[in-house]
Assembly symmetry: C2
Homo-oligomer: 233 residues x 2
């Protein structure tokens, strides 16, 4: 209640969050403005601003000029997922990573891929199919299309030694990406690749990336049954 001698923005961040969690400031309710809080906490307004801005970014507060700051009605929690190199993913689980290139051809992509990448027809792309292994067992099956126009250097990379996944992460940054997660029953191809029965439930990640509007790659990764993608809120 009384004036605190907290002086860092972290302290203010913590104290404001406490008041939200303890429902001292309830969802939808206005909280004091920056000047008032600065006085209460005995600090500059910029310090309060920093604390409240972080809380607003995290979804705890809604801030609007003139209107003021209020506690968010639905504290929208955001989970952040890293987009890792599969090799690191495997190694982090304490397993030995293996990689096997199955197919690497330059050909014309199917309509599904063309439309997803918004490419004209007749364009040739690199089609890569590969298997990622953990302790010698199938871990994930990767089916990828790469636009060689966007990353010509990949044509001279040894994709039997380094996975396209890893090569691209290291050598091709992107400005925009779409990612989708879903579940699918293993078809004949996936079943054989992952050594599982047809129909097994597979966790699937589809990702497409662009660099300033130029499509780089579109990939589908099907994980062996039992795979869990985990994170913290």
């Amino acid at each position: 209640m009384s004036t605190q001698d907290t002086r860092s923005w972290q302290s203010i961040h913590q104290e404001v969050l406490r008041r939200i969690n303890d429902r001292i400031w309830r969802p939808g309710e206005f909280i004091p403005n920056e000047a008032e809080l600065a006085e209460e906490f005995g600090c500059a307004r910029a310090t309060v601003n920093r604390a409240l801005r972080e809380l607003a970014d995290a979804g705890y507060l809604d801030r609007r000029r003139k209107a003021g700051t209020r506690v968010a009605l639905h504290p929208v929690r955001k989970a952040t997922l890293d987009i890792p190199i599969i090799r690191l993913d495997v190694e982090q689980r304490g397993a030995a990573y293996g990689y096997s290139l199955i197919e690497l051809v330059r050909t014309s992509p199917p309509v599904r891929i063309r439309s997803r990448l918004r490419l004209q027809d007749g364009v040739e792309m690199l089609h890569i199919r590969a298997l990622h292994l953990a302790n010698g067992h199938p871990y994930a099956y990767e089916d990828r299309w790469v636009n060689p126009t966007a990353v010509p250097d990949i044509l001279s990379a040894d994709l039997s030694a380094i996975s396209a996944n890893e090569w691209l992460v290291r050598n091709a940054t992107f400005t925009r990406g779409d990612i989708a997660f879903s579940a699918t029953n293993a078809g004949p191809v996936e079943a054989e690749m992952l050594s599982v029965p047809e129909g097994a439930a597979l966790f699937v990640v589809e990702r497409t990336t662009w660099m300033r509007g130029v499509p780089i790659t579109s990939v589908l990764i099907a994980y062996a049954p039992g795979h869990r993608m985990h994170t913290t809120l």
Copy 2:
């Protein structure tokens, strides 16, 4: 190259990002320190700091005192996922939302739930099973355990009218949460609930939340086949 008259931190953010994407500053390479950049851009050091801090938070830069600032080796991209109320999720897809409470009992949870929540045995919890509908069709099957000690008010809520999902989002904030995504084959129960054949691949979300170490709820949500969780990078 020459001094720019950009004066906002957003401009500096944009320009630094451009230099990273154009590989003017390459991964692992040091960039000028804040004072030098402030001079180049003709602004205060605090303004540069703001821009670089945002880029570091986004994973583009690595910053360390004394050492300096360098371009991140593996630009770890983070996908942020909202944790929505299922009703809003359905409505956003343009469908009419429906909800059906299947079971609501107070009983002792199985070991699997107890250990996940780190609860003593003998504790009674609320077990809720429900079906979420979109345009009258099964959308997701929810199997939830709630710790009534953490949220006693839920005992007086009408969980046949409002889903536990929504009630908890509105009334019980949490300080920590685990979330996991996976795929599973529909068992007899899920198959019946979702009106799909046994063995169908289901997208599964498991979420557990705590408030200052006190477990609130643990829920498993199995989505009907075809469900896709989508986001942008």
